[in-house]
Every structure is written in structure tokens, then in C-alpha cells.
């Protein structure tokens, strides 16, 4: 269970990005998670909830964009369809060995945050 450590780092990355906006709080962070990163999206969601609990960002949302790995055939020069969580060794069309590509993403893409009320109206 390393998702908590990753969630804490994502939180810290967000806080660094929001440094020019004092008092802002996170509304939603969007991350890309590749299939080969050994990060489980559901666990990362729970970990995010725990990571921001008690901070001004409590209740914020983490949106995870799943990036599957691809199986590429050098013979057909094309990606081959595969079932999630399964791998093919040989191309079903030409019999050449398939390679696994992609699925390495673990990136913070976008951050939505709420700035505190601009001019304090002393209302």
C-alpha cells in the first residue's frame, strides 16, 4: 500500500503549484495513472481523502485518468486489442511477438482551486 505516499506527494505538488495564490484551496486535481505504475485508482482515491483530511483541501476531488498499456506488433505496425489485465505474447494476426508499450504515466495534469474572496468587502 504505497498509494498514501503518492497521494501525499500529489498534494505537495498541488500546494507548490498554488504557492502564488495564498489562501486558495483545492477543488479538484486531475492525474493520469498508467497501467504499469503499480498504482491502484480506487486505493489512490481513498489515499487522497486521507492525505487532505484536516487540511484546507479536505473534501477535494481527485480525478484519475486511467492510461492502459498497449500491445504493439512490429510486423503489422499496429497496436493490437487486448483484454484489460491480460497480455498476449504473439500477434493474433501475423504471429510475431508483441511488445508492451506505454502505461508508464503517473502525472499531475491539472489543478482546479478556489481563491479566497478577492477584495474583502467587510460585509
Amino acid at each position: 500500500m504505497h498509494e498514501l505516499g503518492i497521494a501525499l506527494e500529489i498534494h505537495r505538488t498541488c500546494r507548490e503549484a498554488m504557492a502564488p495564490h495564498p489562501g486558495a484551496r483545492i477543488e479538484r486535481v486531475t492525474v493520469a495513472v498508467g497501467e504499469l505504475t503499480a498504482v491502484e485508482p480506487d486505493l489512490l482515491e481513498s489515499a487522497w481523502e486521507a492525505a487532505v483530511a484536516g487540511s484546507p483541501d479536505e473534501g477535494s476531488e481527485i480525478r484519475i485518468l486511467w492510461r492502459p498499456a498497449r500491445q504493439y506488433c512490429a510486423g503489422c505496425r499496429a497496436d493490437k486489442p487486448r483484454a484489460e489485465g491480460s497480455w498476449l505474447r504473439l500477434c493474433p494476426d501475423c504471429g510475431m511477438p508483441l511488445a508492451v508499450e506505454g502505461g508508464e504515466e503517473l502525472d499531475v495534469l491539472e489543478l482546479a482551486f478556489i481563491e479566497p474572496d478577492g477584495e474583502d468587502t467587510d460585509g
Binding site: M1, H2, G5, I6, E9, I10, R12, T13, C14, A17, H21, A24, E27, V29, V31, E35, L36, T37, A38, V39, A69, S86, W87, L88, R89, P97, L98, A99, V100, L106, D107, V108, L109, E110, L111, A112, F113, I114, E115, P116, D117, G118
Partner: protein, 225 residues
């Protein structure tokens, strides 16, 4: 209610670990130290492979081992018994090593200049996969008693490890373990990787393994010269 804003960030989620790893990598480039990050299940034979490796190389190279474990000094003791410096990193429950932890323990260990540093990660095929420790390459170990379906079950580590080492090969005659199937799975996940079959008991494959380490060390020295 305040104003909502959206900014693009485009940064790796493990950016902070990456920065620490980059500093370690830079330092090891300067000293010409070859650094390996060994990853496998508990009980697959990481420490045993290291015992056999340091016994073969210790007279010609300056070696040290960082041992990552949840608890006990046992693994570091096994390496020290061979006259090679070792430092135990106790993670106290954490399932993987991070670059910062390696940095901190390296300072505490004070090994001096090294030719090869072995980092034995916590026994786990999943969590250590995502963490760069500044190593030259990752080594995945798979013992024949674990079963021949593991590369496709744990694609993260077997696709990233530049070298896959099958261990306990002396037990192959007693097990329904399809070595070719494992070689093919690793080849699919990692077409450019190196695949070695070893036994610390019989000595099989250890010459090839040690030769690979010597080659990689020489290549790193040549690149830095």
C-alpha cells in the same frame, strides 16, 4: 464563495522522489559507482544471490550493500559476515524504499567510495516499482518456486527491470516450472531486457551475472571518463 481557477500542472506525481533520485544519480556518476536496485518477492533469494555475488567480486571491487527490510538486521549481518560493508534500512512497515531514505541511510553508513552498490529493496513486487532510487538499473528476481505465471501477473516490475534473474534453478527438475514461458513473458514485457538463469547453490549462471556487472561498471566508467 471565492473564484474557481484551473491551472495546468504537468508534473510527475513522484516529482519530489525524482529530484532526490536525480541528485543520487549525479553523485554516483561523479564517483563512477554502479548502483543496482534489486526487487523481488520475499524469499526469492535476493540476499543469497548477493552473498554469492560479493563472495566472487569482493577481492577486486569495492562493494557495499544497503538492505531494505521492514524489521531485523538479519540481512545486513549476512553480508557483513563475508567482510563486505552493509547497512540495514529499517522501514518499520513501509513496503518500499524511497530515494530520500536511501540518501539518509547512505550518509549514516558512510561507505566511502565504491565500485558497486547493491540496494536490496523491501521484498515486494509491487510498491518498489514506482520509486526511482537513482540506480543504474533495476534487477527483478524470480525464484522457480514462485511459479511461471509471475511476469504477466506483475507487469510493472518485469517491464521496468533491465535485468531479470531467475533464481533457485537447481530446483527446476523437481518443479512444474516452464522456464521458456517465463522467458517469453519477460520478452513481451521488456524486449530489450536481459534474462539470466541462476542458482546460488549450484553456481549456475553466476559467472554470467558477475560478468554483466563488470561490463556495466566498465561502461559507466568509460562514459564518465
Amino acid at each position: 464563495m471565492g473564484e474557481s481557477k484551473v491551472v495546468r500542472v504537468q508534473r510527475n506525481a513522484l516529482e519530489i522522489n525524482r529530484r532526490h533520485a536525480a541528485r543520487l544519480r549525479e553523485a554516483w556518476r561523479g564517483t563512477g559507482t554502479l548502483v543496482l536496485n534489486l526487487i523481488s518477492s520475499p524469499g526469492s533469494g535476493k540476499t543469497t544471490l548477493l552473498e554469492a555475488t560479493v563472495a566472487r567480486l569482493k577481492d577486486r571491487f569495492r562493494l557495499a550493500v544497503l538492505e531494505g527490510d521492514v524489521a531485523t538486521e538479519r540481512d545486513a549481518d549476512r553480508i557483513r559476515a563475508l567482510g563486505v560493508p552493509a547497512h540495514q534500512i529499517l522501514t518499520g512497515g513501509a513496503c518500499h524504499l524511497e530515494a530520500r531514505l536511501v540518501q539518509k541511510n547512505l550518509e549514516a553508513a558512510d561507505f566511502g567510495e565504491l565500485d558497486i552498490l547493491f540496494i536490496e529493496n523491501v521484498g515486494n513486487l509491487i510498491c518498489p516499482t514506482s520509486y526511482d532510487l537513482g540506480e543504474d538499473f533495476k534487477v527483478a528476481l524470480l525464484s522457480v518456486t514462485e511459479g511461471d505465471d509471475k511476469p504477466f501477473k506483475y507487469p510493472g516490475i518485469f517491464s521496468r527491470a533491465e535485468v531479470t534473474v531467475v533464481t533457485k534453478a537447481d530446483l527446476l527438475p523437481h518443479l512444474p516450472f516452464d522456464l521458456d514461458a517465463v522467458r517469453e513473458q519477460v520478452g513481451t514485457l521488456n524486449p530489450r531486457g536481459t534474462f539470466l538463469v541462476t542458482s546460488a547453490t549450484s553456481g549456475e549462471g553466476l559467472d554470467a551475472w558477475c560478468a554483466l556487472l563488470e561490463e556495466r561498471l566498465a561502461a559507466k566508467r568509460a562514459a564518465g571518463a
